[in-house]
């Protein structure tokens, strides 16, 4: 009995009236954990009962503690008939299992009913007494900390980054069980909520086990998703990055864990029996990507194994892991690039088992998007893979005709199922890995996975029969990168002695057998070579003469020593050390493509045939929009493709910036193919003019004035390359030549030929993006490049819209227009609603699109509006423009961002290899490929490059000149002392002007709400509005009960809405997650309102933050 869970029911309030006669309620409470249930006494005739129960004690295994939620049910006692349920509260007790998180859960929780919503509140106290368990074969992983945050959590220091962990569990979906036909919707919803809660608990426990096995103590960037596969079942899967974190408390002992990477468990790699592979991804021998990765010329030891996938492991550990594996059905990251795809499932399986102990290679993937300085050495570009699968019951023998009614019979249900899903993901990950290799990179950062499932939804409300024709697109994407191996080996982010402030502990914490390897790797990277760290990540990691794709390379505008590409695309956040010119902005590419209605395999084939074209189009759009804004890099790129019955939707969002180390983007030139016609020429030149005007306007808007860039002459499509006053080199001039060529219509220029309708459409869509209203900025990353002086005013919001396309026979163009308008309108609406926050920036603006039904498009967005101090900003901008001085401000900002160690600019650790690496740029993939093949290729690989660059900070940021006062916004922060704890929520990993002092645990909640009186609840909007408000309320209540006052890295990962207006019914499922934290205000600063003056203030303020 390694744990004792204790719960006490204190009181209730605002209960609903359950007895019409007396207008009162006779409430009592059932407290259930596992199979044990306790009850309180009935508190008669009150809407505000005071139970003050005894402590209910549950003696349980810690395994159960991790898997099971505490279930509290409030009922109305009825002498003559069955007791009526008022509602439930599920409490995840996982935060109590880690010594560093919360110690008690105590507070008011909304009592939730899936049919009626919130019905009153209940005050509960929960504690856990854990006994130490030394059994190394244990199935639990108590104590492993989980973070949704995709950077090293603030208040921690990463001693070691072990790498990728993943897991998935599968079960039958109660909604589709036979019994569902006879039970009430409430019972069915509750079964589902409980099941998912159990499954996520189990998933987390299993991931935790892997982390322990690897020697880590935490999972950062934990991303858990549900795939509601209908009849095929319910998949809960998660990925994350295993780390060893040390708490940053003065005097705290540094962690002593010296087991570096242990490979994740592995066993199976089954090939799915009925998958349809996207043709694009098939190995094409001629494809540039399939070229064997070229060793980096300049790196002598590049052939040595990448540091992350050392095959050497502590044997002790691995053997124990084996045992574990055999006990737990499932899973597997097998690995290896070496495994041929053709291998049959069985063969693969066997081979892997044989190799498992020795050759487990983890995927060198990292779900982090923000890194300690020096971690990222180079960035190759975006890698992504998609695969279309048919969800067929054949894959789920356990769910066949003989259904199991047991909710949690893991062994029987899980037997085959996870293997298939695992194999699918395995395959995708392999593909990603090989793409990364092709880019000369040994790792993938900013990695994420997602699925899009299409099923026939109009039967979804209490389906009687559902077809098994579900199609699922699995997608994975990330950014190929070269990483500094030290982080993986030695655990010292500050190994170089870089950070005086944060690294209070000597980096020697980890000594050990791995030492030797550590050495090897560092020498491998040639650390002694100096290269300014701030631009290193932009330098190409691949071989200049063997480029994976056509690219234009130039010497880095910052260091002039290495090659950089002309454009860099990434899925990560802007590195703290990056030097950026001007501000960034949200860039979205939107696309709609019609598809014939079809079923089964035909449908899957149709979809997979369309995918590459869609990706290509999206990419083209992104590139055009990027150029139009005079920017050269994209961060936080997220491409989502949704499937509907008769159309596919593609939405790509990213934050564009101008990286100072990359060449200035060229303009966009329009060329007509048939220049004979005079009016046609006229038309073209008008368009050209509009484009040039737009570019000029955008430069102004985003404050992009590269110091070395001479203003472009309007009308001239030729970007002036003469800007480098400082470092003009011969290579530069050659570059210039090529650009000139571009203007003549050469392939790599950004030339839009408008005699095909697509191009006209492209141009139209380019120009229809409405500019943001004054005072607004937007981005989809953690923070907006170029804005540093946030106030504490912030407002998190969720907006959901569903549009009905009334015209069934729309063309692609028509659909595109509609889709674009729809996104633009949503943005406009957000700007309007948040106008009181001006000046502000909408951060983490990520849209999720879905096609819930034929002719319906659903767009959901959760983001945060953060206001900033206008005056300080102006001053900073000015200083920036002048290019004067120090980058003090920027520094501070970055500290805040990267959370962990500080980013001092000249951090030795951060040194990327300074070797003369080959550099190349990805050629403008933007040109219109004339041949279909080429197009396919480009698209399929989705490899985009981008490089990011940083300029020396000294060039651009200047100290804040004096500024008057922080804006009034600070007064907008909530007054405290309200009876209910104010809980802030944000999708970002930090709250401006505050310091996070403690992480209390992960919040991961799944809710279902259903109604059979849709009209009475205000129609679909009223229904969803109150549901979302209820979800917020429940999240806040849980955080407050843990003792927290904010949720960071909040996200709404799922919002599935279904309606059946004819039956007056609707159902919605929402899944949210985040990290509960305690923050403190940056004291004095915050407390003394607006009178403090001068830049110094904000400077110090930011300082304190780190």
């Amino acid at each position: 009995m390694p744990g004792k869970l204790k719960a006490k029911i204190v009181a209730g309030r605002h209960l609903p009236v359950m007895d019409r006669a007396s207008d009162l309620t006779d409430a009592f409470v059932e407290v259930k954990f596992g199979n044990t249930t306790f009850k309180t006494d009935v508190y008669p005739k009150s809407l505000n009962p005071q139970w003050n129960s005894e402590w209910f004690k549950f003696e349980v295994d810690d395994e159960d503690l991790q898997d099971e939620p505490l279930q509290i049910t409030v009922l109305d006692h009825d002498t003559y008939s069955a007791n009526d349920a008022i509602g439930k509260v599920y409490i995840d007790i996982d935060p109590l299992l880690s010594s560093e998180a919360a110690t008690v859960i105590s507070g008011w929780f909304p009592i939730y009913d899936t049919i009626h919503g919130i019905r009153g509140e209940i005050n509960v106290l929960v504690k856990v007494d854990l006994f130490n368990d030394l059994n190394r074969f244990r199935q639990s992983s108590c104590g492993v900390k989980f973070f949704c945050t995709t950077s090293i959590p603030r208040c921690y220091r990463a001693a070691l980054v072990h790498g990728f962990v993943e897991e998935l569990v599968v079960n039958e979906d109660p909604e589709y069980q036979w019994i569902d036909r006879i039970r009430t919707p409430r019972a069915s919803n509750e079964a589902r909520q409980r099941l998912i809660s159990l499954m996520s608990g189990e998933l987390q426990r299993k991931i935790g086990l892997k982390v322990l096995e690897m020697g880590g103590n935490a999972v950062v960037g934990y991303l858990q998703c549900f795939d509601l596969e209908g009849e095929s079942g319910l998949v809960v899967r998660a990925i994350g990055t295993a780390c060893t974190l040390d708490k940053l408390i003065p005097g705290s002992a540094s962690n002593t864990n010296t087991h570096p990477n242990t490979a994740p468990a592995s066993n199976a790699c089954n090939s799915p029996s009925k998958e349809i592979k996207e043709p694009v991804f098939s190995e094409d021998p001629t494809h540039p990507l399939s070229v064997p990765p070229t060793p980096l010329r300049t790196l002598p030891s590049s052939s040595s194994p990448p540091p992350f996938s050392p095959s050497k492991l502590c044997s002790r550990q691995s053997s124990s892991s084996d045992t574990d594996l055999s006990l737990t059905p499932k899973m597997g990251m097998g690995s290896g690039i070496s495994v041929g795809k053709e291998a049959g499932p069985l063969k693969t399986l066997l081979r892997q088992q044989a190799q498992s102990a020795l050759e487990q290679r983890e995927f060198p993937f990292f779900t982090l998007t923000c890194f300690p300085p020096g971690f990222l050495v180079h960035i190759g570009g975006v890698v992504s893979a998609r695969s279309v699968k048919l969800l067929d019951r054949i894959h789920n023998p356990a769910l066949g005709n003989t259904r199991s009614y047991k909710l949690l019979d893991w062994n029987s249900v899980a037997a085959d199922e996870p293997e298939t899903r695992d194999a699918w993901w395995e395959e995708i990950r392999q593909e990603i890995k090989s793409h990364a290799k092709a880019l000369g990179c040994h790792a993938v950062v900013g990695y994420s996975e997602s699925t899009t499932i299409w099923y026939i939804t109009h039967t979804i409300l209490r389906p009687t029969s559902i077809s098994s024709e579900e199609v699922c697109i699995l997608s994975a994407s990330g950014t190929a990168a070269m990483l500094n191996p030290r982080f993986m080996r030695e655990g010292c982010l500050d190994a170089g002695g870089s950070d005086q402030r944060l690294s209070r502990q000597p980096p020697l914490g980890m000594v050990g057998s791995e030492r030797a390897e550590g050495e090897v790797s560092s020498s491998w990277l040639g650390f002694d070579d100096a290269s300014p760290p701030s631009c290193g990540f932009c330098h190409i990691p691949y071989d200049e003469f063997n480029m994976p794709f056509p690219a234009q390379l130039t010497y880095c505008y910052h260091c002039r020593r290495q090659k950089v590409p002309d454009v860099l695309f990434t899925t990560i956040d802007l590195p703290a050390e990056a030097a950026v010119t001007g501000k960034g902005c949200l860039i979205q590419a939107r696309l709609c493509r019609t598809k014939k209605k079809a079923q089964g395999e035909v449908n899957a084939t149709a979809i997979s045939n369309l995918l590459p074209f869609m990706e290509y189009e999206l990419h083209t759009q992104l590139m055009n929009k990027l150029k139009l804004r005079c920017m050269n890099a994209l961060f936080g790129l997220r491409i989502q493709i949704s499937v509907g019955e008769n159309m596919l939707l593609g939405l790509a969002s990213a934050t564009g910036v101008y990286l100072s180390a990359l060449p200035a983007p060229g303009g966009i030139q329009i060329a007509g193919k048939t220049p004979s016609d005079l009016s046609y020429d006229q038309h073209i030149s008008t368009m050209q003019k509009r484009i040039n005007d737009t570019i000029a306007m955008n430069k102004e808007l985003y404050n992009i004035h590269p110091p070395e860039c001479i203003e472009e002459v309007v009308g001239s499509p030729i970007p002036d390359r003469q800007r480098s006053r400082l470092f003009r080199s011969t290579s530069e001039s050659s570059d210039e030549l090529s650009e000139l060529d571009l203007s003549h219509g050469k392939k790599d220029a950004f030339v839009l030929e408008i005699d095909d309708t697509d191009a006209v459409e492209d141009i139209q869509s380019l120009l229809t993006d409405a500019p943001m209203p004054a005072g607004f900025y937007s981005c989809n990353t953690e923070v907006m490049p170029g804005i540093y002086n946030w106030t504490s005013g912030l407002q998190m919001f969720t907006s959901v819209r569903v549009y009905r396309l009334n015209n069934a026979n729309l063309t692609n163009q028509g659909l595109n227009k509609i889709f674009t308008d729809l996104c633009e309108n949503l943005l406009k609406s957000l700007y309007f609603k948040l106008r009181s926050m001006i000046p502000c920036c909408l951060c983490h603006l990520n849209f999720t699109v879905a096609v819930p039904e034929e002719e319906l498009i659903q767009v959901a967005v959760t983001a945060v509006a953060m206001s900033f101090d206008k005056e300080t900003q102006l001053a900073a901008d000015k200083a920036l423009n002048k290019g004067s001085g120090e980058n003090e401000e920027q520094l501070q900002f970055s500290m805040e961002l990267c959370g962990e160690s500080t980013s001092s600019n000249n951090q030795p650790t951060a040194k990327p290899s300074g070797l003369p690496e080959s550099a190349m740029t990805h050629s403008s993939s933007r040109d219109r490929c004339s041949t279909w093949l080429e197009l396919l290729r480009l698209k399929a690989h989705t490899i985009r490059r981008g490089s990011v660059k940083t300029t020396s900070s000294s060039e651009r940021c200047s100290p804040l000149p004096e500024v008057r006062s922080r804006s009034l916004r600070s007064t907008r922060s909530l007054p405290c002392g309200a009876p209910v704890t104010v809980v802030k929520m944000t999708p970002l990993s930090f709250l401006p002007r505050t310091r996070i002092v403690k992480y209390l645990g992960i919040i991961n909640m799944f809710f279902i709400r259903e109604t059979t009186s849709l009209r009475e609840e205000g129609g679909v909007s009223g229904f969803l509005h109150s549901f979302i408000a209820e979800v917020f309320a429940m999240v806040r209540a849980h955080v407050a009960a843990l003792g927290g006052n904010a949720v960071v890295s909040y996200s709404m990962k799922e919002c599935v809405f279904m309606e059946n207006p004819n039956k007056n019914q609707a159902q919605c499922l929402i899944n949210v997650s985040g990290d509960a934290v305690i923050f403190v205000r940056e004291s004095d600063q915050e407390a003394i309102p607006p009178l403090i003056t001068c830049g110094q203030t904000s400077t110090t303020g930011a300082d304190g933050t780190t």
Binding site: R13, H14, M796, T798, S829, L830, F832, A1029, A1033
Partner: protein, 359 residues
Amino acid sequence: MSVELDVFVVNTTIMDEEVYQLWLDGYTVNDAVKVRMEGGVLEGCEASAEVLHSDTMDQYRTFQMCERLLHSPVKLANQLLFQIPPHRQVMLIERYYAFDSVFVREVLGKKLSKGTKKDLDDVSAKTGVTLKSCRRQFDNFKRVFKVVEELKGPLVENIRQHFLLSDKLARDYAAIVFFANNRFETGKKKLHYLTFQDFAFCAGQLISNWTVGALGDYNMVEDMDVDLEKEFLQDLKELKILITDRDLLDQHKSLVCTALRGKTKAFNEMEANFKNLSRGLVNIAAKLTNTKEVRDFFIDLVEKFIEPCRSDKWTAGDMRLYLTHYTNSAHVLDTFKHQVVWDRYMGVIKSCILKMYHD
């Protein structure tokens, strides 16, 4: 393409005060959008009417969801559904319970019953206040009435605590409750010139001087501030002696006239009307034991006292002078033993009449 569903939910609920007012005033969404457009809210924003419509809808929905909480404002402070900064909560409550004085004049003193509620459409038509708004205001009156009806302790304080209203608003509600409870007639034509604030003032006077609670006796009796003190009303009968005893009446008159002589232009009228006026006031006092007569308290004051004075063109100063001396002279009367009751009665009467004596 049509928008089928459109919601926007924030973590910290912000409400546009202007839209809130439109909602309270009973505007439909479309009308509210029109008003907002005319108000120029779109200026400076690149927004269309569509955007405005969507925003208005969102806010209206939020208000509707909040309305349930506003019915018991104490809940608003500790509910978990909406995170509303305290100062916004105060604003929401205060505005929700605010009422139109034209509306309240119509229902003041009426029974807060279903029947009255049914007639609200007439009231709405008459006052120009939308029916929706009328209903909200009426329901607010009724809700406050029901809650305080069963509570012990001072009326104003109870209202303030249970509905978290400002002192001013709580006093107004106390007046409304007081009027509704005693069913004072306020709708007669002769009373039309009186505003709600006139009545509210009078109600305040009555509550603090003529009720059980007025004695400073905080035994926390139910309805202590709502019902007039029975004993006092009985005692008022004794005042009749002032008009039934001829000597006393003459004596009183001469005392008052002596004091007033030369101090006012209306002296002659005062002297001529003294007996009538005095009879009027004392008769009102004597009749108050009868609940039905209590209802006519204000109409009696106007008919028996204010109107005669007004037709004699007394100024407000004349009125004050007269009432002061009228009250004080009674103390000098040897045979008049009911000084305490007299003061308690006349104190209120004097301030009420002074308040009510205007055009």
